[in-house]
């Protein structure tokens, strides 16, 4: 366990020193901070503006950071040969992969904590009240990004970083849209099963990223979640199970891998 923790720690240490990631984080923090300045343009009311704008920036930054960080996690170790001294120690390959993933999740926790704190501050100052909804949104986005990180890490065990950018971004977009798309299709009686079934299968296989986008009910309180707690638990459990499956897949592929 110590080895896994050491690898996770080293991964985190390196990630928070990675310039691209910190530039994205800083840019996001600055934009969140200055977002109340757009107030005069708010047509739909101040709260909606501040909330949707902040959540949008946070999700965007988290998504980019998850993909950029995870495409390189394993390939970089191989390319610059740092992996040789690690795998020649009493470290199992699964410990290496798990350590990398935990390091990435730790990094995401860190950046979401930073963005969340600043967003809380901004909402407190501009809306005059503490907004617990911010925390809920941040937690959901954190799990969404962690799931995305597992997807990217999984792909990184067998495709090049460049291909991985497109693959991961594609899966993220599809995973965000598929469930809505499927609902639309199911409501339309003209769609044949020949079209519907593949869409259904794809919707089940692809990670459902849409479930984490709870900013809509948060931004528009009239759109009510029937049982919020159950919904949260279910969605988080879904993320964890899906991540575990991806982790197993990553390890199986990485075990065969030669460096």
């Amino acid at each position: 366990m110590n080895a896994t923790a050491a690898i996770a720690g080293a991964t985190f240490g390196e990630a928070v020193r990675k310039r691209v990631l910190m530039v994205i984080l800083l840019a996001a923090l600055v934009i969140i901070l200055i977002s109340p300045a757009f107030e005069p343009f708010a047509g739909r009311g101040q709260r909606t503006l501040v909330m949707s704008f902040g959540f949008g920036i946070i999700q965007l930054a988290g998504t980019f950071i998850a993909i950029i960080l995870c495409t390189g996690l394993i390939p970089t170790e191989i390319e610059r040969r740092t992996i040789y001294t690690i795998l020649s120690k009493p470290v199992q390959r699964w410990q290496f992969v798990l350590g990398k993933l935990l390091g990435a999740i730790g990094t995401l926790a860190f950046i979401y904590a930073m963005m969340g704190l600043v967003f809380l501050l901004v909402t407190r100052l501009s809306l005059g009240a503490f907004e617990p909804q911010v925390i809920k949104g941040i937690v959901m986005f954190f799990f969404q990004s962690s799931l995305l990180a597992s997807v990217t890490l999984f792909f990184s065990t067998f495709v090049s970083p460049l291909v991985n950018y497109f693959l991961s971004a594609g899966v993220f977009l599809m995973g965000n849209l598929m469930s809505t798309f499927l609902e639309t299709i199911q409501r339309n009686p003209e769609v044949t099963p020949l079209t519907r079934i593949p869409v259904q299968i794809l919707t089940i296989i692809l990670p459902n990223f849409a479930n984490f986008n709870i900013q809509n009910p948060i931004i528009n309180p009239e759109q009510v979640l029937t049982d919020e707690l159950a919904y949260f638990i279910q969605t988080i459990a879904y993320a964890i199970v899906y991540m575990a499956l991806l982790l197993v897949g990553s390890i199986l592929i990485f075990n065969q891998r030669e460096m």
């Binding site: 110590n2 080895a3 740092t82 001294t85 009493p90 460096m259």
Partner: protein
Amino acid sequence: MGGYSIVSDVVIKTVKLTKRYSSWWGSQTVEAVKNLDLEVYRGEIFGFLGPNGAGKTTTIKVLLGILYPTSGEAYVLGKPAGDPETHHRLSYLPENPYFYEYMTGKEILTFYARLFGIPEPERSKRVNQLLDRVGLSRAANQPLRNYSKGMLQRIGLAQCLLNDPDLLILDEPTAGLDPIAHIDIRDLILELREQGKTLFISSHQLSDVEIVCDRVAILNRGELVRIGKLEELLSGGYVEMIAEKVSENVLEPIRQLGGRPSWHDGRLIVEQPDDGSIDRVIDLVRANGGHIISVKPYRRTLEDLFVETIQGGRKQ
């Protein structure tokens, strides 16, 4: 229990080990190691020699389980290569080692010590000891990105010693280092042998290993071309004797003793096999009125052997 644990004195063993690299569509293949049979015994310094591209690093990666054999077998410390359990007892210095640059010397050694599972307070103690031993105590808190190549190599050696290993696998440990660093590393290697450790050292520079190796294997284009004790491989040197004022009568008896006499500017030069017969030749020369100017042994060097073997291999 698998492998060769019965013969506990065999630390590394490969049987018909073959490693082929192929591009993933399989159109191009490189056979980097071919049918390699190797045994390395406990307590010896084993030189694994060959020119660049001979397949040394590939073999080492297979021994560590970083690559898998295409065919054949490899055993390390009595277990199939790559068994993480055996990794507690071995250590590895890669060719041109590279480490996390953002860490300091002390942090990187602490990181590796954690990978070895060494608990505190033992961990800090050993890290500090080793920083001291490789002469990096003063640079301990500087990030590795400020280290010179020689300093990185010393960090590399320090991380090899963290677990007090039985077997050290060093890939080109002196490549690209200045002469002083060469000597440091050679001294360290000798010190480790004193402690009874087994060392497997790859090199394409012969002068480094010549003095320290007990046995060597020479690899060329993936194939083992020579293996044996250094003194056996280097036998076959000769003794050169120069004399003057000798009568030609000695020529025939010298030839009968296996020597090769020749004349240069009225001087007799004899190349005599290094088998003790030089005494009889000297007696002969003296008995025939000759005057000995010099007697000089010419030992074969590893370099000679290397060039002979590799060129022999190329001609085929």
